[in-house]
Every structure is written in structure tokens, then in C-alpha cells.
Amino acid sequence: MAKRLLAIILAAVMVFALAACTAPTGEPVDGGAESGLKPIAKEDVKVGFVYIGDINDGGYTQAHDKGRLALEAAGFECLYKENIPESADCEVAVRELVDAGCNGIFTTSVGHMDYTETVAKEYPEIYFNHATGYKTLPNMCNYMGRVIEARYLAGIVAGMKTEANKIGYVAAMQIPECIRGINAFTLGVQSVNPEATVEVIWTNTWYDPAVEKQAAIELLDKGCDVIEQHQDSPAPQLAAQEKGKFAIGYNTPTPDAAPKAYLTAPLFHWDKFYVDCVNRVVDGTWEPASYWEGLASGWVGLDELSDLCAEGTAEKVEAAKQGIIDGSLVLFSGEIKDQDGNVKYTDGMPNEDIYNMNWFIEGVIGTIDG
């Protein structure tokens, strides 16, 4: 009897001990508390990256990893963790990097945001940087390439190429990042081919080559002849090649993945941001800002056009690019109608509304779950 009682008491103690361990600890560092950030000497900087995919995925993660390589070339020590899902595994990965001595952390997928935030609150002296989200802390900034500008250029390429006037768009998640990309792409298409439509299929995954390819085949079977993607692997391009149609890549140039289909790709040049950002850590000018920079800053761009592009595409793309850089061409300006033809804005959209877009513009075929 006494033994059983002892066991119960021990079990109870254990439960309380566990509860005590998981209770939130870092209350005072929340919100406007003073930042504990100090500049770090270059030789002491250790940068840790958390990637959602494989560093050789031929897409999104590879583009980020180019940034890591650029940092290493500049003499910074870097660690990385790949294939980290948007789950509690991310928190584990960030903590492991911190334990390994990293004092600058970059997490690179939107779903990493909350886990990054959790750890950032506990370590106010470490620099956290999160890509494609929206949260900031005194020691956490967020950054995103204004890839809608490159997507607009890709839209021009697709609009010139399509003969069926049906363009397919394999998109990952029903979130503003994808939706504003689809809308910007559609604006680009319409600027050269007002007849063409853009049809969207959601895959609900950033990186799953099998699903990405199946979605592209579905669009091709529906009669689309150019495929655009917001996915991390070149699988949609392989599908287009298999069906004798054309495709636009994303993130990283992939002319060799599907050489008979590849037209071009909107690209991220994350290396530009990463090197600048870590240099700011060294000279003490790092800020917990929200960065959203585009063509003008060189954060994004369009890959070289392949020989498969329609004649005259290069000139149109170049003109639009210059227009965006010098400010004479502004995306989402003038009257903007939604998918059903209702006027949503009469004279352009503010930047913040573009970033948070959750509806399709006119010319897009597809649905967004409420």
C-alpha cells in the first residue's frame, strides 16, 4: 500500500515538474522591452539557417542556400538545417542552432514564423530573421523579396507565349504570399494579352514533387499550354515537357530540368539580403524592420529568357522592368476589379493591402476557401 502511495506521489511530482518546465519563462522580454542586441565582431558571428526543403531542391531552398554560400564566401561561419517542416520540429531546429552557438538565425518559410518568435523571446541577445512572414520583435526582423514584380515580368512572357489563351498556375497555399503573386502574374499576362485567363490549382504543399506534377498535369489536361508555378521543385516543368507544352520556373534557374519546356523563372536573390543583413549585425545598424524589396534593390529578378520564348518578348520584358525600377510602371494602379467584376479599388492599392491580398483579380479562374 505504502509503495503504491509513494508511486502516486512520485508520479504527481513528475507531472508538476514537467509542467514547470514548459511554463512560459521569458515574460519580461515580450513586446517593447529593451533590446539586448549588441554588435558582434565579424569572427564571432555564427549564422544558422533553417530550410523547409532540401538544399538541392532546384528551387526555393536552393535559392536561400546560395545566400548562405555567399556569406561563407564573405568569411562568415554558417550552419544549416534542411527539410524542417512548418511544425514544432522548427522550434527544435532553431534551439539546436542556438545551442550550437549561432547568434544570427534565419528561418526561411512562412510557417516557421511562430516557432521562431517563441525562441526569439527567450534569447533577446540573438538576432532572429524570418523570411516571408509579418511578425517582428526587438530582436526579430522579417524579410521578403518583392517577387510580384518578377512575376509580373513572367506574366508578360506567358501572355506572349500562350496560343490557347489558357495559362495554368500551380500554387501552394491559399495565403496572401501566393495570392498576390497570382494576381501580379495575371496583370503581366493581361498587359500583353487581354484575352488570356490564368487558372489556379492549389496543392496545399510547398514542396512535394509528386503532387506538384499531378496538379500541373491536371491543368495541362484542361487545355492550358503554359504552366506557371508557386512551388519549390521543378516538377510542374517536367509535366509541361511531358505534354509538349511550356513552363515557367520559380526561385532558382532550372533550364536543365525541362529544357524543352523552360521559358524563364522569377528569381530571388537572397544572397543580396543575407550579406547586407549580417554586415549590419557586425556594424551595429541591424534593425527589426519588415523588408519587402524588389527589382530596384536587386532582391528579385527574372531569369534569362530561353530560346522558346515568343518573338518580341525580350523587348516587352525589358521595358516593363525599367518602368518598375524607375517608378513609371506601378503594379496594382488605377481601377482594380475582383474575379467577379466588382470594383475593389478605383485608384490603385496601398502597399499594405497588396501584401495582404486575399482575393483574386479579374481574369483569374479559381477559388479561395473562405
Partner: protein, 321 residues
């Protein structure tokens, strides 16, 4: 041909291409279970085949060699399983589960150098989609069977061969006796251990080839855990097929069809003027839910001739009689 017939033909084409690796896995499982070995390692053997096949294809550019390597990798997994369950008489369920976990990890290791790579043209030329003139113009089923990778017809062919082997040949009948009553088989002079080894390894070979099809043809890329549960669907389909290779074709294509439908139902279905929308999560679950429902239905019917091999799952000790 009307637009509707064309879209049906295209849908069936997708169905067959999504069902083929599952079909090969199911056939491998049927061979293994027919000699009385519970087969839960299909996912692991598929992954081994998927990464090894891709590795060989990438490095040699030889399609035949790649397919053989995929099969050999699956067979190697099955050999480990056979040694543990047949010779050492280990628990088949635990060993099968361990094989899946092992296969997933080992495949990831094998595939490290090929992640993100594309296959050479010579592989796609042989294993990719071939359009057979005339036959592929048959309405509805033309594209499904004759505008496909050679794997698709190959898998159907395998199913027919295995059916004939198991029901019409002496060796096949011997194998079934081993699965029903190893003691009786032993008494009548059938080498139980040899039959178990050969069929388990052949089964593993087919699972490996199925994985190879998925990585080299269907997806065209390698990634960790590429098959995403297809091996488990195969395990369920063995029961769906009642250990009958011909019914396995039906089961695998049903799975392919439901998976193909998920993208078609996105954005809702218009019925009598009302749009019925489906949540994305529900659509992703659909193939698996259908598999469970079908299993439920099948097992409820519970006919005498549709039963698992009687000795399935129990190791054979000659001295135990």
C-alpha cells in the same frame, strides 16, 4: 470525339499512371503473403527501389539497369525480412514495420547525392510516355493503356502472369499450400523454407520496381519519403484484392482514380445549380478514406473463398507439430 469523352480518357490516363506503383507494390505483397508471410514492409522496399533505381539511372543512363537495380534493392530489403522471419522465425509484423522504417532511412542515405537532380534524356526516352499509334486513339481507354510509360502495361501484364502462376501452375499451387498449411506442404515434400524465400524476394523485387517507376517516371525526381504512404495503401489493397492479383488491378486503379479526382473537385462541384465545395484537407484525405471504407465493406462480406491464407503471420516450426 466529344470534349467529355476526351476528358474521361485523360482522367483514366492519370488514373493508370497514379495506380501503377501501387499495383506493383500490391502484387509484391500478394506474392509474399501467399506463402504465409505478413507483408508490412512494402513502403520500405518501395523507397529502397525508388532511390536506388534513380541513383543508377542518373549515373549510368541505362534504363534496363536502373529498373533491375530498383528491383534488386527491393529484393535486398525482402531478403533481410526473409532471413529474420523465415530462418530466425522472428515476429513478422514487427519485422515488416522495422523494414519500412529501415527502408525509409536507408533510401534517404542512398539518395543523398541525387536529390534535386534530373534524369538523363536516355532514361526518359525508354521509360517515359510512349504513344502507340492507332491503339492510343481508341476512345476512352486508348490513352489509359497505350499512351503511357511501359511500366503501366508491364504492371498489368505482371498481374495476369502472377494470377496464372498462382492458380494454374504446380509451383504456384505449391506456394499457396505453403501459405495455407506449411505442415501439410512439408509432409508432401514441398520445401517450405525455399518457397517462402523465393516468393518473399520476388515480392520485394516487384515492390522495388514499383518504387522505381514512381521516382524515375511518375515524378522524375528523388526526395526523402517520396512514396508518401503508397506502400501502406498497397498493404490495404492486398486485403481489398483478397490476395487475387487481378482484383489488385481494380484496387490500385480505384486508388489512382480517387487521387486523380482530388484536383478535379477543387473549387467545388456544380449539382442542380448548387455548388458543393469540399475542404482541401478532406480532398487530400479522400483516397485514404475510400481505402478504409472499401476495406470495411469487403471484410463485412466475409465469404469463405475470400479469406487470407490460413497460415498467414505464423512462422513454421517443423518440430512444433
Amino acid at each position: 470525339m466529344s470534349a467529355f469523352l476526351i476528358s474521361v480518357a485523360l482522367f483514366l490516363q492519370v488514373t493508370a499512371s497514379l495506380g501503377t506503383h501501387v499495383l506493383l507494390g500490391t502484387l509484391g505483397g500478394i506474392l509474399t503473403e501467399r506463402v504465409g508471410n505478413t507483408c508490412l514492409g512494402i513502403e520500405g522496399m518501395m523507397l529502397l527501389g525508388a532511390s536506388t533505381g534513380f541513383l543508377v539511372a542518373y549515373n549510368t543512363g541505362n534504363a534496363l539497369l536502373a529498373v533491375l537495380a530498383a528491383g534488386a534493392a527491393g529484393a535486398a530489403g525482402a531478403l533481410i525480412y526473409a532471413i529474420i522471419t523465415v530462418s530466425l522465425r522472428g515476429n513478422q509484423v514487427v519485422t515488416g514495420l522495422a523494414l519500412t522504417t529501415f527502408g525509409s532511412g536507408a533510401a534517404g542515405l542512398i539518395g543523398m547525392s541525387i536529390s534535386g537532380k534530373s534524369l538523363p534524356e536516355s532514361i526518359n526516352n525508354v521509360l517515359g510516355i510512349h504513344t502507340i499509334p492507332v491503339l492510343s486513339d481508341i476512345p476512352v481507354i486508348g490513352k489509359m493503356l497505350f499512351e503511357q510509360s511501359p511500366f503501366v502495361l508491364g504492371a498489368i501484364f505482371c498481374a495476369i502472369i502472377i494470377y496464372i502462376y498462382l492458380t494454374k501452375t504446380n509451383t504456384g499451387l505449391n506456394a499457396r499450400v505453403v501459405g495455407e498449411s506449411p505442415a501439410a506442404a512439408d509432409a508432401s515434400g514441398i520445401n517450405v523454407t525455399l518457397h517462402k524465400y523465393i516468393h518473399t524476394i520476388l515480392g520485394g523485387f516487384l515492390c522495388g520496381v514499383g518504387g522505381g517507376y514512381y521516382s524515375m517516371v511518375y515524378v522524375g525526381r528523388w526526395q526523402i519519403d517520396l512514396t508518401a504512404g503508397a506502400g501502406w495503401i498497397s498493404v490495404a489493397l492486398i486485403i481489398f484484392a483478397m490476395w487475387n492479383p487481378l482484383r489488385a488491378i481494380l484496387g490500385a486503379y480505384l486508388f489512382g482514380a480517387v487521387r486523380g479526382l482530388t484536383f478535379k473537385l477543387q473549387g467545388g462541384l456544380v449539382l442542380f445549380g448548387h455548388t458543393i465545395t469540399f475542404s482541401a484537407q478532406l480532398l487530400d484525405m479522400a483516397p485514404y478514406i475510400v481505402t478504409v471504407l472499401v476495406l470495411l465493406f469487403i471484410t463485412m462480406r466475409n465469404k469463405r473463398e475470400y479469406q487470407a491464407p490460413a497460415a498467414l503471420g505464423s512462422p513454421y516450426f517443423r518440430e512444433n507439430r
